[in-house]
């Protein structure tokens, strides 16, 4: 997986590209988020437009990131999740846990 990090005002956009599965992408994602949560009150937008595949480990990783950011008093939201990732979250009752957007500017505005 490739990770690119950009800042838009107070929000850090993390562009993910590739797969989030066991042994691929999961550790990279965790490290990137760990880095970002060293600052206080982190505002993170995970752009998943180019995440083609995710398994249960990926879902777990997403939750771990979400919780790490929350513990730091921050917010993590999702951008551009595919129908399939939506399905994965939906059937495990997780879709309502995450705030997600299909439009970057709407997402950025939501951080207030």
């Amino acid at each position: 997986m490739k990770i690119n990090i950009r800042n838009e005002g107070e929000v850090t956009i993390v562009d993910l590209e590739g797969k989030i599965t066991i042994g691929e992408g999961d550790v990279l994602l965790r490290e990137a988020i760990h880095e970002l949560t060293s600052q206080s009150d982190p505002k993170i937008l995970l752009n998943m437009a180019r995440v083609a595949y995710m398994d249960s480990s990926g879902v777990g990783e997403l939750l771990a990131c979400f919780q790490a950011v929350n513990e730091q008093g921050g917010t993590l939201k999702l951008l551009n999740i595919s129908t399939k990732i939506k399905d994965l979250l939906q059937i495990t009752q997780l879709l309502s846990v995450f705030e997600y957007f299909n439009d970057e500017s709407n997402a950025l505005a939501s951080f207030g």
Partner: protein, 145 residues
């Protein structure tokens, strides 16, 4: 459908415990899915279930021990796509696996693999004798999820 001549109806694989093999197995299940007329959505979910089963065999069953082997069997018979994954681990008690959709488990960072397998396949069966064997069946032309 291609001609029976070029159809793949049976593939059995045994490999040393390694996650690296996953990328090499996916084209095989995809090829058989195409042969059976599954669309790309169904292919995606069948592969997801297969990957979850393989992950579990590698991680929980063989505990990453490279001296142990994982066996995968994919067969096509009477329009049924049957995927069997066998490891050399200690087995486990299926009835003790928590339901990930219960409120107290929803936010746990693991424990969804089996649930996905059951969601996307028509049938999932476990036996634990000399390791764990999971058999997953997808019947022809039912689409998931």
């Amino acid at each position: 459908m291609t001609t029976p001549h070029s159809d793949i109806v049976y593939v059995e694989m045994q490999f040393s415990t390694s996650l690296a093999i996953l990328d090499l197995i996916q084209p095989i299940t995809n090829r058989i899915c195409e042969q059976l007329g599954y669309d790309s959505d169904a292919q995606y979910w069948i592969w997801l279930a297969t990957q979850e089963a393989l992950n579990n065999a590698i991680e929980h069953g063989n505990k990453m021990d490279t001296n142990k082997k994982v066996q995968l069997k994919v067969t096509v018979d009477a329009g049924e796509f049957r995927i069997t994954v066998k490891d050399e681990g200690d087995g486990f008690d299926l009835s003790k696996v928590p339901d990930p959709t219960k409120p107290e488990n929803i936010l746990k960072t693991s424990g969804r693999g089996l649930f996905y397998m059951k969601s996307f396949m028509d049938q999932v069966e476990y036996t634990t004798e000399n390791g764990t064997t999971v058999t997953m069946i997808k019947r022809l032309q039912e689409q998931t999820p």
